[in-house]
């Protein structure tokens, strides 16, 4: 029974990492402002949102199963408060931090229209902290930390996000690309004010 919890926890953790990678890669790539090759435009945000919801579910399974695992002896507070636990405080703390951030990201995103675009966007940049924390957490803690296959999976995850970054950076942003003549500095530029007039009378 305990073994089962332990395996479930580890498996769910790994799947969460993969899902978060997909989420971050889609988020980054969608900022390129173009559809992903072969997908309709609305697919990117739909996949991004659904993958993140799925990630939260698996994250729940991940921490839930470890909470009941007698070996790690986690307390409920360790799930919320980073670096407070007795069991590998640093590596576990990174995971806790990532967990908090992901939950916050998802909650704020579901309330996005109520938060307003600017506030939501500022908060959403925390994704760039959450994902690396999750990666480090996976590398540092747990039974499988040193195994080659976990390292391989992690490498693929990092590569995926890097590719998404490249896709975004290499395409010119359609919204800020060069357009028309630049605006003149002031509106009384004589060359651009074609019809000269005189001042007020008297």
């Amino acid at each position: 029974m305990n073994e089962a919890l332990w395996y479930t926890g580890r498996g769910a953790g790994l799947v969460t990492l993969v899902l978060l990678t997909v989420v971050v890669a889609l988020g980054v790539a969608s900022r390129a402002g173009r559809p992903l090759p072969g997908l309709p435009r609305f697919a990117t945000p739909v996949l991004h949102r659904n993958a993140s919801l799925l990630a939260v579910v698996l994250l729940g399974v991940h921490v839930g199963s470890l909470l009941f695992d007698p070996y790690a002896q986690l307390r409920l507070v360790d799930l919320m408060l980073p670096f407070a636990g007795a069991y590998r405080p640093l590596w576990l703390g990174l995971g806790t931090l990532a967990f908090d951030l992901v939950v916050a990201l998802v909650i704020t995103s579901l309330l996005r229209s109520r938060l307003g675009a600017t506030a939501w966007r500022r908060i959403h940049w925390a994704a760039y902290a959450a994902w690396p924390l999750a990666v480090l957490h996976g590398l540092g803690t747990g039974t499988d930390a040193g195994t080659a296959w976990l390292r391989a999976v992690t490498a693929v995850c990092v590569l995926t996000v890097a590719m998404a970054g490249a896709y975004r950076l290499l395409l010119p942003d359609p919204a800020t690309g060069p357009l028309g003549p630049p605006a003149p500095p002031g509106n009384r530029d004589p060359r651009l004010t074609p019809l000269t007039i005189s001042g007020p009378p008297r």
Binding site: G33, R41, R112, S113, A117, A175
Partner: protein, 88 residues
């Protein structure tokens, strides 16, 4: 409210022409030369027929720039200038 349909407001200062809305709401929106949504009925705030209101709300939630708002009242019946595009 949705018995009479609604209208779609586009915040042009936020829209970056990602084109999701034009793809999701082809009945209401076409796409212009530069990728921005173009109201087929030629109104500044195109009408959303009753049966499309729920779908328009989905687009509202998905717009990456939060540039869409489904407003409860349908637009005034008198078209306000502009041109009509044929439905796709």
């Amino acid at each position: 409210m949705s018995r009479r349909g609604a209208r779609l407001h586009i915040d042009w200062t936020a829209c970056e022409g990602r084109g999701l809305c034009s793809e999701m709401l082809t009945e209401i929106l076409a796409i212009d030369d530069w990728g921005y949504p173009l109201a087929r009925d030629g109104r500044p705030e195109p009408a959303v027929p009753r049966e499309l209101v729920a779908h328009a709300r989905r687009a509202e939630r998905l717009c990456p720039r939060l540039a869409l708002r489904v407003l409860p009242e349908p637009p005034p019946t008198r078209p306000q200038g502009g041109s009509q595009l044929p439905p796709s």
